[in-house]
Amino acid sequence: MKRILPFIIIIVVLAAALGSAWYLTRTIPASPTLGTQSQAPSVSSPATPAQQQGAVNPGVPGAEPAHVLGPANAPARLEEFGDFECPPCGIFHPILVQMHAEFGDQLQITFREFPLVPTHQHALAAASAAEAAGLQGKFWEMHDVLYEHQNDWKKEFDVRPVFEGYAKQLGLDVERYKRDVNSDAVAQRIFMDGKRGHSLGVHGTPTVFLNGREVPFESLPAEKLRVVIQNEIRSPSK
């Protein structure tokens, strides 16, 4: 018995490890990397999470006026909490650009700042840069540049000159930008967006709400998000 006991222990541990791994992978929903090919979207399964979940939590207001693309009366209103230094947000950016082009006036997009400090060392500086550009009416332009060049600036030691370069490239008044980037107005906007995110239970980025209901992370690849938005336009949940 003593000679086979270690083998029994080993088999029990192996079974426990495989069993727990199998159980946990079944209970945690799969979240394919954004933008990669995943399962074909089914109109019935991932398409309607926004409609199937519970009551909408309105949350506290974010910064006003919010950064919005598209009309206020659009049947699908998407709100993204993003961090310019977060790689998945960078991957999600072209998907949202694509959705904006495809749905036009039927989709309203709002961007909320949710810099993950201290995980991302430059996230707050990037959020400030975007908000400072916003004070000169070029939030979305800076938003796009920051995401498109994410890999260029995220490894820099000092991102300020890089962002000032972007400001110049976008035709901003750079002296005003330099003042605004450290201003209370910019800090307050980021704070208000963060406060709204926390009130909605946001703890990571990108987190996306559609008509007030969170879109599961696994539904964010383009082919799935398209179906979610289409369903919301066909039968809005709110």
Binding site: P6, T25, I28, S31, T207, F217
Partner: protein
Amino acid sequence: MKKVYAVTALLSLLGLADALYLTIEHVTGESVRCTITSGCSEVLSSPYAVVAGIPLAVIGAAAYFTVFSLATLAAFGYRIAGTLLTPLVVAMFLVSLWLLYLQAFVIREFCQYCLFSAGITVALLVVSFVGAALRGRPSR
């Protein structure tokens, strides 16, 4: 000696649990989203997290399970298992050093679960050397 192998087996179980968690994170893609508390999304979504198509966490889990098996067998008197244990733990320690280097200087993000695994490997190395020293001591 039995105590040394028992401690090795327990440590490897902790490492196995950690590696299994990382495997599940990798497979489900939960690690892909950025969160406030973790740099794991950067580490686990980096190209270094996969070797020849196999997630590194799976390789880690297999290594910890092998250490557990060898330590258990050694504790029950299978001497060959005890002999194999030290080189395996040394190899795991060297791989851990390489992964720490990647996190510190290439990815420039640390994943706390990867750091925990590195800590377990260091502890395994220490215990393994203690075991080797005890084996080398003449029995009375």
